[in-house]
């Protein structure tokens, strides 16, 4: 039972921190080493798990939980049974939120929208998603999404980080950690939040945080306006020329330090200051849309001229991926239509349908769609039954995690395809359910990453975006 004394070798195993210190920029090939935990010790060759179909991702997050019934999942039966109670045999005692869970009745609500078939593939979209429908042959609709959370905060946290528990890295942070950046002048993970949205639930920076991953992987929010990135602009009176001079002096200071300390961290620090300097030019360049053609601007719709609108952000997302940004996460709020759903969702679609469709079109004609994955969807769907007041013209729907719809396009996804199905009431999954973990696994797969091998050891455990779950949804792969 005598305590042991560790040897020199035992404590000298290369530590991750030291390892990262030599690859401070997180550039492609170097960052790839992260894919293999302790790769040097395992003596394995470093490389991608398999070729990537999608080099970049644009995730159009629709916060609040868009209703599938008015958009992507037609249910004629609900119209027939409008006002009749949801049969217990369908609900099967599954939990409801505290908002409608105590209603004495759960009357079914038929959609006010009309559905029709689009494209050669004939996939059905509602009339408030007609622009998206026009791109049907490039889109894969998933009608059998499901999640575990029933409230916004846990739900959106789950989608953004693969866990309802706070403190896990976000999707984009994982992508940045695993794949690094393809542009030395811009962050690998950029976040855009719509300014023109109805803000029913607030969004928070932790949804794009790096969790336990090094903070260099956290999403950088680009805001509309004079200073797109926090503290990007030189203080008043400091010209770019003066700043250059400061950086040159900084290089000398750090060079002196480096020479005496032999510390690679000093180099890393200088490299980061230089990147900051480059961002001061590259960010205003990439956010300036004045060079876009009139035709392009019109394609995204009128509101593209309002900085920070969903339309403007879709256009900006295209410009960012064009420059090699790895992961762009847009957030658009306002889908939480507990009451007065018809008016609410009509407004949502008016803001988002055309720009989202334009994004696909624009990427496609520039040859970017084939290796850019676009994802559209919220944190859960909505109930088949009405919450609150029900009239001829209006109704509401509560949160529904058991089935809902999303769509994906480009980046190795099968266009003109519908995956999964719900029952006639749109209450339960009838075929081919896709869990949040499955979506994440598939997304990573398309990016050339085996989701089981993208890990980070933290507090004694190997963590993944997909926890210990997730299956790649093969039928939707092109």
């Amino acid at each position: 039972m005598s305590p042991f004394i560790p040897t020199y070798d035992a404590v000298m195993r290369p530590t991750r921190r030291h390892f990262l210190g030599t690859s401070a920029l997180g550039m492609g090939a170097l960052a790839l080493r992260h894919l293999v935990p302790d790769a040097s010790a395992a003596g394995e060759a470093v490389g991608m798990h398999f070729p990537a179909k999608a080099k970049r991702v644009i995730y159009l997050f629709q916060a609040g939980g868009p209703s599938q019934f008015e958009t992507l999942d037609p249910k004629p039966l609900l119209r027939e049974r409008h006002g009749q109670d949801l049969p217990d045999s369908v609900r099967k005692g599954q939990r409801l939120t505290g908002m409608s869970g105590n209603q004495s009745r759960l009357p079914l609500a038929g959609s006010f929208t009309e559905f029709k078939k689009y494209g050669l593939s004939g996939v059905e979209y509602s009339d408030i998603m007609a622009e998206t429908g026009a791109m049907a042959d490039d889109i894969c609709v998933i009608r059998s999404m499901h999640t575990e959370a029933i409230n916004h905060d846990p739900g959106i946290t789950f989608f953004c980080s693969g866990s309802q528990i706070a403190g896990r890295p976000s999707m984009g942070a994982w992508a940045s950690y695993g794949l690094g950046s393809m542009n030395e002048n811009l962050p690998a993970f950029i976040v855009l939040v719509s300014r023109d949205a109805t803000k029913d639930q607030p969004l928070y920076s932790r949804l794009w945080g790096s969790g336990f991953l090094p903070s260099e992987h956290q999403g950088v929010q680009f805001k509309a306006g004079k200073e797109p990135v926090l503290y990007l602009t030189n203080p008043e009176g400091v010209s770019p020329h003066a700043r250059r001079g400061m950086l040159d002096a900084l290089g000398k200071l750090n060079g002196v330090q480096r020479a005496s300390e032999l510390d690679p961290e000093v180099d890393a620090r200088l490299a980061q200051a230089e990147m900051a300097y480059r961002m001061q030019t590259s960010v205003p360049e990439v956010t300036d849309i004045s060079g876009e053609s009139k035709e392009t601007l019109e394609m995204y719709g009128e509101s593209v001229s309002q900085p920070g609108s969903f339309a403007a952000n879709c256009l900006l997302a295209r410009r960012l991926v064009e420059k090699g940004v790895r992961f762009v996460n847009l957030f658009h709020q306002g889908w939480d239509n507990h009451g007065g759903l018809p008016g609410g969702i009509r407004r949502q679609c008016k803001q988002t349908d055309k720009p989202a469709a334009a994004l696909i079109k624009d990427l496609k004609r520039r040859g970017l769609l084939e290796d850019t994955l676009v994802i559209w969807g919220g944190e859960f769907g909505r109930t088949a039954y009405c919450q609150g007041k029900m009239t001829k013209e209006s109704y509401g729907r509560d949160h529904h995690p058991r089935c809902f719809s999303m769509w994906m396009s480009g980046g190795g996804v099968r266009g003109g395809h519908v995956h999964g199905a719900t029952d006639d009431f749109g209450y339960n999954i009838a075929a081919d359910g896709v869990h949040v973990h499955d979506l994440h696994a598939t997304m990573l797969h398309l990016m050339g990453v085996n989701h089981e091998r993208l890990t980070f050891k933290f507090q004694g455990r190997y963590y993944r975006l997909t926890d210990v779950h997730g299956h790649v949804v093969k039928p939707i792969l092109a």
Binding site: I5, G98, I150, P235, L253, E265, Q459
Partner: protein, 1040 residues
């Protein structure tokens, strides 16, 4: 195949002859735990594959179902484990390919040698109590403390030598930053250099450790661990009133509270024999986890989340154990069962609490009141006055003996009476003269349901569908002290599991978020309550019998305004019914809201129910009045009822003493509610029992597995003399034999002073954690720490005085190559400063820092120390995040250190740093007579040392160029220095301006364009950019 394997094994066997024996702890366990324990470890449930466990000898050597033995000590040819490790068949090889972590050749060698040498297991180092080690003979002439001898010995074994003491300026800056997080001033540095006395350094150490600044710096790591913040987190993220707890931490550190007491007050300050306001405040450690009020949330789900958070935080903060890994199943690596997790959960689930925050964000009960000095004594006086008034009131019963039958009882007129004879779009009439009708509230338009007229008891009545209800408008609000009576004829159409009959709780966001009067049916029984916040602050009673269904009955409830459950009564058909007390803890006012009948948003209403002849009184009717109101003859009442009525209505002494009692209670209430409410731990007999939750899911308690309070006994067996509560847990955590607590603290202090711990995985001392670089130092310090009375300051002092801490940190090439991460400590510490220190250092260098000790949190732009910056959990301060601080949503045992471009942007462009650079420039301008002296002074302010010749020349050149430009463009210099233009002349009257605008092109009469900013001094502006550049440099953000 077999032959090939045998050859392969022989190959390894040869290797095995070569070296010294392998050590299980050092060489073998890290491999086994990383690759094998996930399936063949301590998790006894579904996790274990093939019935094999490799974490202990018996399991590893037993005969398996296959007939094989994984390990036969000393026999590598026949140990199945060896065969499987060396197999090339993907279905056969271990670990399986899908683990994605194959064994290296070197690792296979280690395992095979270990088996060959007899497969000797050893207990995990961190679970064996620490002992002092005899220091080796090493480091003569250099060592100042036994710990230095261990360092010197290890260094020389690795072919390195320790380094001499660093220069005075560097040493002083290192010491200041490590202890207080603030740099020394150039004057302090000069004085230290000039002080040649042998105890100069020691005196600085003692002075700094005793300063309040040291507490402000050292508290930060604890605030990370305890996930202290200023908001509750989650959607909506309401402000959380928690800074008094943060001040408790600051005070405890400033006063050098012994660490065992520091733990005990936080874990169980409410249960201490000498509990005080201060020790109760300390227990908020377990209450400041995140809480949500998001509508529709399920209270039990979030109550369980809160408890799990307390357990996880306890695991990390005191033990560096990942207890949270055992919530859903037995721990995969450490000997912690799922039952152990819930035993600790039972410790922290001892509250009577709602898992949800109320919509208004009030401090969730249980609470304590934060009194200023003297106010607590005043409360005691007022409580005594209430007790005295109660006693006098009790005595006032004396003297009344008449039980002569009552011939007549006059029931007071009701305040409102709704006969439900008509129903319009607006609502229904009130029969009381000038009484306001009951109405559908406007927002009720959102409701699914309706109320309808139906056949009633007298004429028509009202039928409820469970969703629709009525607001009883126009009444003065009922508060905690208003006596009240509600009476209605009711008919239940079903046995309602839950139905709201009457409430005054206003906006209701979900379960238990009720504040006010509330009459419910729960499981067919009537429940009548007066609530501040459910459940820990409420008076509530419930009928023993279920209500009859499908017949009309008269329900009457009264409340006497006493805040006591005994002041609540329930009558059926004019007669009192048997009730039991559900809660009797009402200790705060409720929110005054209108009464609503038959429904509540987001709650179940009176489905299938009917009501008629609803009446309200602003007084508590006596039992006799209730009976007579129902039509029972006064003459037929029993003696007790009669006596009670006479007492309350006729007996002057009773009436007078009751008024005095009410007055005393109000006075107490008024005094109490002036003091802020603060959430604390308080054990309650109402706390729900703890069960193992299947897969950790809140709605799957395994009722066959009730769990009592306990601790993970594989770490340290429970001492049966300890109470099975949080106080017992605190004693267990600080037990002299507890192997983890002292080591974890020593490692945390070491991390603060050296930038990395002796155990680099400071957050995990379990089997998956890293090995300590210097176990002898860790254990010697830990053992001395416990025997020395858990004195944290003495521990710090000892380390700071060591030769190891004082070493030069500049490595030789050999040091850099042999020990890049300085694990051996053969050179001084290098630390990238924390987010807080980087900001505080800039403020201090600029002379901008405003100092105070404790108090409410401040906004980011205010120049207070960063420990006081307001922390919003869902949107933490940007500077903090960018420099690697966390969100404080959950316990954070360790921060990573990264380099990002955003850090450079903060240092160069963030207004706080820009204004600090300006101030540094102004100070330097006056401090030096020539430019070299000024630059040098700025450098000293920021980096604590004089710049070298190359550094100075680079900065001189920068200054020269910038100065030239600013001389040519003095306005730019003014902008850099933030010189504000004089305020423009007052605007002409608005009317005029508007007119002029309309009038057309005469622009000259428009309000003048803002004057160009005044010019600035080119020297100082250039110096400011020099200061800014220094701040962005490695020398500023690093302690060396």
């Amino acid at each position: 195949m077999r032959i090939a394997l045998a050859l392969l094994i022989l190959l390894y066997a040869d290797v095995a002859e070569a070296d010294a024996p392998v050590s299980f702890n050092r060489d073998v366990r890290p491999i086994l735990s990383d690759r094998c324990y996930g399936c063949h470890g301590p998790d006894a449930n579904k996790g274990r594959k093939a019935g094999l466990r490799l974490d202990e000898l018996t399991g590893a050597t037993k005969e398996l179902k296959s007939g094989e033995r994984a390990i036969i000590p000393g026999d590598i040819e026949n140990s199945e484990m060896v065969r499987r490790m060396l197999s090339t068949d993907p279905d056969d090889i271990m670990p399986p390919p899908d683990l994605n972590r194959p064994l290296t050749k070197a690792e296979r060698e280690v395992l095979i040698r270990w088996i060959k040498e007899g497969a000797k297991y050893e207990p995990h180092w961190a679970f064996v109590p620490p002992v002092r080690f005899e220091p080796p003979r090493a480091g003569e002439g250099w060592a100042r403390d036994p710990i230095d001898r261990f360092v010197a010995a290890a260094a020389s074994k690795a072919g390195l030598s320790t380094l001499p003491e660093t220069d005075r300026a560097t040493l002083l800056r290192r010491l200041h930053l490590a202890t207080t997080g603030l740099p020394p001033s150039p004057e302090e540095t000069d004085a230290f250099i000039a002080d040649k006395s042998p105890d100069a350094y020691l005196r600085r150490v003692d002075a700094l450790l005793a300063s309040p600044r040291a507490a402000e710096h050292q508290a930060v790591a604890w605030l990370d661990l305890s996930r202290y913040a200023d908001t509750w987190g989650y959607t909506g993220d309401k402000p959380m009133f928690a800074w008094p707890w943060r001040d408790w931490v600051l005070n405890a550190i400033r006063d050098n509270m012994p660490y065992d007491r520091f733990i005990t007050e936080q874990v169980a300050g409410d249960l201490l024999p000498d509990a005080s306001q201060s020790t109760r405040v300390a227990t908020a450690f377990s209450r400041i986890h995140r809480m949500t009020f998001e509508g529709g949330s399920i209270a039990e789900e979030f109550r369980q989340d809160g408890i799990a958070d307390r357990v996880a935080t306890t695991g990390y903060a005191f033990l560096s154990l990942t207890l949270d890994c055992a919530k859903c199943h037995d721990h995969k690596y450490d000997p912690i069962s799922q039952k152990d997790f819930f035993a600790v959960a039972a410790m922290f689930g001892d509250l009577d609490e709602n898992g949800l925050l109320d919509f208004h964000g009030q401090p969730p009960p249980p609470i304590t009141r934060l009194y200023q000095p003297g106010e607590e004594a005043k409360e005691k006086e007022l409580i005594a006055a209430v007790r005295e008034a109660e006693a006098l009131h009790g005595l006032s019963v004396n003297g009344i003996r008449s039980s002569a039958p009552l011939t007549d009882v006059t029931v007071p007129a009701p305040e409102a009476h709704y006969p439900f004879e008509s129903l319009t779009k607006v609502g229904t009439d009130n029969a009381v003269t000038n009484g306001k009708p009951a109405t559908f509230e406007r927002s009720r338009g959102d409701q699914l349901g309706q109320v309808e007229l139906c056949e009633g008891v007298q004429g028509k009545g009202l039928a409820f569908d469970g969703d629709g209800g009525l607001m009883l408008a126009g009444l003065e609000k009922y508060d905690r002290f208003t006596p009240f009576t509600f009476s209605a004829h009711m008919r239940l159409g079903e046995k309602n599991a839950r139905a709201t009959l009457l409430h005054s709780s206003g906006f209701y966001s979900g379960e238990g978020d009720a504040s006010g009067l509330e009459l419910l049916i729960t499981e067919g029984r009537l429940r009548w309550s007066a609530i501040h916040l459910w459940p820990a602050s409420a008076a509530s009673i419930e009928t023993s019998q279920e209500l009859p269904i499908s017949r009309w009955m008269r329900v009457t409830v009264t409340y006497d305004g006493s805040s006591e459950a005994s002041g609540l009564r329930i009558y059926l058909d004019g007669k009192p019914v048997t009730t039991k007390v559900v809660r009797d803890t009402l200790d705060a006012p409720f929110r005054p809201n209108s009464l609503e009948l038959g429904s509540r948003s987001r709650d179940s209403g009176f489905r299938n129910g009917r009501m008629d002849e609803v009446k309200l009184w602003r007084s508590a009717l006596t039992a006799a009045e209730v009976a007579v109101e129902h039509g029972i003859k006064a003459g037929s009442l029993d003696d007790a009822t009669v006596a009670d009525h006479r007492l309350r209505r006729e007996h002057r002494p009773w009436i007078d003493s009751y008024a005095k009692l009410v007055g005393a209670r109000r006075a107490l209430n008024d005094h109490q509610i002036k003091a802020p409410a603060f959430p604390v731990m308080r054990t309650s007999k109402h706390a729900p029992p703890t069960y193992v939750l299947t897969r950790g899911e809140y709605d799957k308690p395994d009722r066959t597995k009730p769990v009592g309070p306990g601790a993970p006994e594989a770490v340290l067996p429970w001492d049966p003399s300890l109470p099975r509560d949080r106080l017992g847990l605190a004693r267990w955590l600080t037990h002299p034999k507890q192997p983890l607590t002292s080591r974890v603290l020593v490692n945390r202090v070491w991390t603060q002073l050296f930038g990395q711990g002796l155990v680099t995985s400071g957050e995990n001392f379990g089997l998956m954690g890293d090995l300590p670089a210097h176990l002898e130092i860790l254990d010697t310090l830990a053992a001395d720490f416990v025997s020395g009375g858990w004195d944290v300051r003495a521990l710090m002092r000892r380390i700071l005085l060591s030769a190891t801490f004082r070493q030069d940190s500049t490595p030789t090439k050999k040091h850099r190559e042999k020990d890049p991460a300085n694990r051996l400590l053969a050179r001084g510490p290098v630390i990238r400063l924390s987010a807080e220190t980087v900001r505080d250092q800039a403020l201090q260098a600029g002379g901008l820092l405003k100092e105070r000790f404790g108090g409410a949190s401040a906004q980011e732009h205010e120049p207070y120390r960063s420990v006081y910056v307001f922390r919003k959990r869902t949107a933490p301060p940007d500077d903090m995040l960018i420099f690697d601080a966390g969100s404080r949503e959950i316990c954070q045992p360790k921060r990573l250190t990264t380099n990002t471009p955003l850090q450079a942007l903060v240092l160069l462009n963030n207004p706080t740093f820009v204004s600090a650079a300006n101030s540094v420039a102004r100070r330097a301008q006056t401090a030096g007579k020539d430019i070299d002296a000024r630059i040098s002074y700025a450098f000293r302010l920021l980096c604590g040392r004089t710049p070298g010749a190359d550094e100075l020349s680079a900065l001189r050149e920068l200054h020269r160029q910038r100065r030239e430009e600013f001389a040519a463009d003095p306005v730019a210099a003014g902008l850099v220095l933030g010189i504000k233009a004089a305020p423009p002349p007052a605007d002409p009257p608005k009317g005029n301006a508007a007119k002029e605008k309309k009038a057309g092109p005469e622009k000259k009469s428009q309000p003048a364009a803002p004057a160009p900013p005044p010019p600035g001094d080119p020297d100082i502006a250039a110096l400011s950019l020099v200061a800014s550049t220094i701040m962005a440099s490695d020398a500023f953000v690093t302690s060396r």
